[in-house]
Symmetry: C2
Subunit: 467 residues, 2 copies
């Protein structure tokens, strides 16, 4: 498949992986390969899971028949790969689906069409759509500070441009425009809200994502336009201010017709590598199987499921671990981590040794953060030492886990974060561009190698180290 | 406006332009600035024309009211900039407009939606669309070699992946799938044709562009899907071949409803810098004002109009040239260079000293090619010497001009090609992504400086050098 030119960084990584592969390749002839050997130069189940799931199933919106089809696909694949106790655990959840979505800047310049997508839980404009005056806010804070009178009856626009960072740290700050902006705008009486996409790219692909309205607040139509479309909107506003057009408000026509389907079925898929010590608590590895509907969900999060499953498979192939490794392919993460909550509701009272999640793309792991009990210091040291040759530095942050293991970690389960390079992630996150071609097989292999080394250590850790 | 990180190449260019700017900046205090001085550190009309045209008018499809609005905008802007003899010259042309456009891979896997756009002059599927079997061809040559029986009644797919080159030289070869593929498929009895976009990117934005059917061949529906969508299609085909699904044909549903509006008005906009020698033949600088309809046409070709106009303006400001400089903002280039032909029909018998066109984006000029009479060797040497400090090498190809001056050059008018760097051009060409943010102001300034130095030489050349 066509690939963009590989970056210098990725080329260096390829050399690193190649150098690490050389010695074990010889070792293979005399001894059973280690799990890491398998990850570095064996089959690549992370790639094949990502490629097959995105090609054969594609978009997997939470609560829909497509997500159910993905669960059936996952069960079949995990069984075929030799995992044990493969099963679906379903639950019901309120389900929102996209309808038509169009927008235009209509005046005072010639009408121009905007690339827009509705935010999850957006209200509907009705089939006829409506037109209104645009009121500009530079960011979420400006909207929050505005008097209701400045917002009432208007189409709110929030303009905040996220920039790429390796650790993805801008998402929380800039993301407030999406997470909270619609709720705040609705409370102030706005007719609708349109935000600059929470994304770092410059393509005509808007970034979807969920928003939430407080109980009792009627959802207003809420959408995101692409960065170039936001630039256009700002350019027109500046020209109006500069007198290039009559001093009239910028007008937008909006058509968003999402629907609430009420309670629908969603579910988790669970699979295990049974440990040799049936009394030992399991290691939980999580990803999410659902995706947004605009693309095939390759980096979010087919690759995550591929990565954790490949790591577990390599450990299993190298020899039965002491602890059970449990894979959680969670449902309905995108719309509020319903799958993770359902897992916790069903299993939260069981013992868990440690939980990890892969849900930040398919690029290389660059740092490891620990959230382990003090008793696990030797274990953390072993893992850090094992990962250093793979180019992973030891971080100082306390590991927080991911959305699908959030309830477990909040309840005290230890966690490790294998930090993925997020520099490119928010170029594609929740857009039509989240497709297989964005996965770099060289970076993916390093990622799986890091996971494999980590899981091998965890699954063979002692009961004095982990609960 | 948000910008992507500037490349090392562009950063080096910025340093070059800065170094060239330093000395003339001092000279300004004692002598009138040269045209090149103005281009290097004066106002940047190329940027403002590109920004204003894309923001205030946007898409400008040939033969439509939007193109007419763009002509009115152009006349007003060119008059305001001080050009003389500013006028529209209109003509009638057959006009094709886009309708609905959707496609899905429907079987044997779960249905997946494809990002598709109709090719110019495509036929319609009718409002209901239709579904058919896909027949695969690796490239145009494979389609041409196929027996009619392999194609008849099918939806032809042509899969050829264009790669970036600095001189854009892949376009002619890979472009045959678009230029000729639909005509060949129609003659063989295909029901429709879908091609992999003629583009070098990996975004979910299909590349539009014109195709032509021979007289007497009924146009079939013809569309381009984005590169990631083409990857998906190929991925599904490979899985069918490998036995992952039943050995059945890949099915596609297609809905394309473009319409032919018959004869509509289009037109050129012409403006001049009058020369001091009324007997001298003029220098023609061309761009095109129309654009495809999916975006604002920033790189294709608002920037080209900005570049030639900035160069003419800088030469005019520095002092009246000997020859008249005539700007041709041509209409209807995208659908067959109707504006260039109309100019030739009206003015082809007049004398023209030389013709140049800017229609390959807004990136730096890296090479100059000449197509001048032998008498102009000293002139070519002067231009090559003037451009070398701007980072432009002298090429050995014979200049061929561009589409809008094609008829003039074919009739013997001398030409110069200022070759723009096309490495990024086919990432955005004819897609929804051809927007202002793709224009790099640093590269644009170098481009205008090169044009300005060239036009200053040409407009003051002698009658022994140019006809």
């Amino acid at each position: 498949m066509p690939k963009r030119p590989v970056s210098a960084c990725a080329a260096g990584l390829a050399a690193l992986v190649a150098s690490l592969s050389a010695a074990p390749a010889l070792a293979l002839q005399t001894a059973a390969p280690s799990a890491l050997d398998l990850a570095l130069h064996g089959e690549d189940p992370a790639w094949s899971i990502t490629a097959d799931l995105t090609t054969e199933i594609g978009p997997r919106p939470a609560g829909t028949e497509r997500e159910a089809a993905a669960r059936r696909w996952a069960v079949a694949r995990l069984k075929a790969m030799g995992f044990a106790n493969v099963r679906e655990e379903t639950y019901d959840m309120r389900t929102w689906v996209r309808g038509e979505e169009k927008a235009w800047l209509t005046a005072p310049f010639l009408p121009q069409s905007l690339a827009i997508t509705a935010l999850g839980n957006s209200g509907s404009t009705g089939a006829a759509g409506f037109e209104g005056d645009v009121v500009y806010f530079a960011g979420f804070d400006a909207l929050q500070a505005a008097p209701d009178a400045a917002v009432k009856g208007k189409i709110v626009f929030i303009d905040n441009q996220m920039k790429p960072t390796q650790d993805g740290s801008g998402y929380g700050y800039y993301g407030r425009g999406r997470f909270q902006g619609p709720n705040v705008a609705a409370k102030k009486g706005a007719r609708a809200i349109v935000i600059r996409s929470i994304g770092t790219d410059n393509h005509r692909n808007p970034h979807a994502g969920v928003t939430n309205f407080d109980d009792g607040v009627k959802p207003i139509p809420a959408g995101a336009i692409s960065n170039p479309d936001a630039d256009l909107l700002v350019g027109q506003l500046r020209r109006i201010e500069a007198g290039a057009a009559a001093p009239v408000p910028l007008r937008m026509k909006l058509l968003l017709t999402p629907r609430d389907l009420g309670q629908q079925k969603s579910g988790n898929v669970i699979a295990e590598v049974p440990g040799s010590d049936t009394h030992a608590s399991p290691v939980i590895l999580a990803c999410h199987l659902d995706s947004w509907d605009l693309a095939t969900g390759a980096i979010d999060d087919a690759a995550g499921c591929g990565i954790i499953t490949a790591a577990a498979r390599h450990v299993m192939t190298a020899g039965q671990p002491r602890r059970t490794i449990r894979l959680l392919w969670a449902g309905a993460e995108e719309v509020g981590a319903f799958g993770g909550q359902a897992y916790f509701d069903a299993h939260g009272k069981e013992r868990h040794a440690v939980a990890l999640e892969s849900d930040f793309g398919a690029d290389r792991i660059w740092r490891v953060d620990f959230g382990l009990p003090d008793s696990a210091k030797p274990l953390a040291d072993r893992i850090a030492a094992a990962l250093a040759p793979l180019g992973v530095t030891r971080g100082r942050d306390r590991a927080g886990g991911g959305a699908d293991i959030g309830a477990l970690v909040a309840a005290g389960v230890p966690a490790i974060d294998l930090q993925q390079d997020g520099t490119r992630y928010f170029d594609w996150h929740h857009t039509p561009d989240d497709t297989l071609d964005k996965v770099d097989p060289v970076q993916l292999r390093q990622n799986v190698a890091v996971w494999t080394a980590t899981v091998a250590s965890l699954a063979n850790s002692s009961d004095t180290e982990l609960p």
